[in-house]
């Protein structure tokens, strides 16, 4: 029996990272999978209310901006909304938030705050578990 859960760890905060995380998450959710994303360290950028509008491309790759526009890719805020609409659950890492002085209000609505154990409990019978 195939697992009906997909567990994703988002540990990086750039624009490319965001696309990798949210494309896989929305595709999985659209395929009737139960999806949770654990956002930790720089990954918290991806769901930060202001930060998610200003995600950067890796140094030297800025010329891809044109490609994104030409390919008509959805924006990250659009993908975040889409993911939540499809039932993807976002968990923000409590420890990272404490270190960075962030509170739940700094993030998009509807997230949960939790520790690594919360995520591990979900991920223990998820396949695949992906890290970005």
């Amino acid at each position: 029996m195939m697992s009906e859960k997909v567990a994703i760890i988002a540990a990086n905060g750039g624009l490319f990272d965001a696309y990798k995380v949210f494309n896989i998450a929305t595709a999985a959710a659209a395929s009737e999978k139960e999806v949770q994303i654990f956002f930790t360290f720089e990954g918290l950028n991806l769901i930060h209310k202001q930060g998610m509008h200003h995600l950067e491309m890796p140094a030297g790759k800025e010329h891809f901006a044109e490609g994104f526009e030409k390919a008509n890719t959805p924006t990250i805020p659009e993908l975040v909304e889409m993911a939540q609409e499809l039932g993807v659950k976002f968990i923000a890492c409590q420890m990272t938030m404490d270190v960075m002085g962030l509170t739940k209000e700094d993030f998009v609505n509807g997230i949960e705050v939790g520790g690594a154990v919360t995520f591990i409990e979900f991920a223990k019978n998820a396949a695949p578990t992906l890290t970005f």
């Binding site: 494309n23 595709a27 659209a30 395929s31 009737e32 008509n72 890719t73 959805p74 499809l86």
Partner: protein, 75 residues
């Protein structure tokens, strides 16, 4: 073929064709047919795989003038 609903996903990039297809299929009944139009080349394998994972039947797929057409019967 008796098409119940048509989804125009032309011009949309991954993962939107699949996301929109999922939303559209949620609005029709089991056994009814959804027609999907897309131009994202990745949709060819993606929508095919998506239909399979959901147990839906891809009755027909064709490509005309760079537009991909899918006919999906809901499970």
């Amino acid at each position: 073929m008796n098409i119940t609903k048509t989804l125009d996903a032309k011009g949309l990039a991954c993962p939107m064709p699949v996301v929109r297809t999922k939303k559209a299929i949620d609005t029709i009944n089991s056994g009814e047919i959804l027609e999907v139009l897309a131009t994202d080349k990745g949709a060819l394998s993606d929508i095919t795989a998506w239909a399979k994972s959901g147990g839906h039947t891809l009755l027909e797929q064709k490509t005309e003038d760079d537009i991909l057409y899918f006919y999906i019967q809901k499970a």
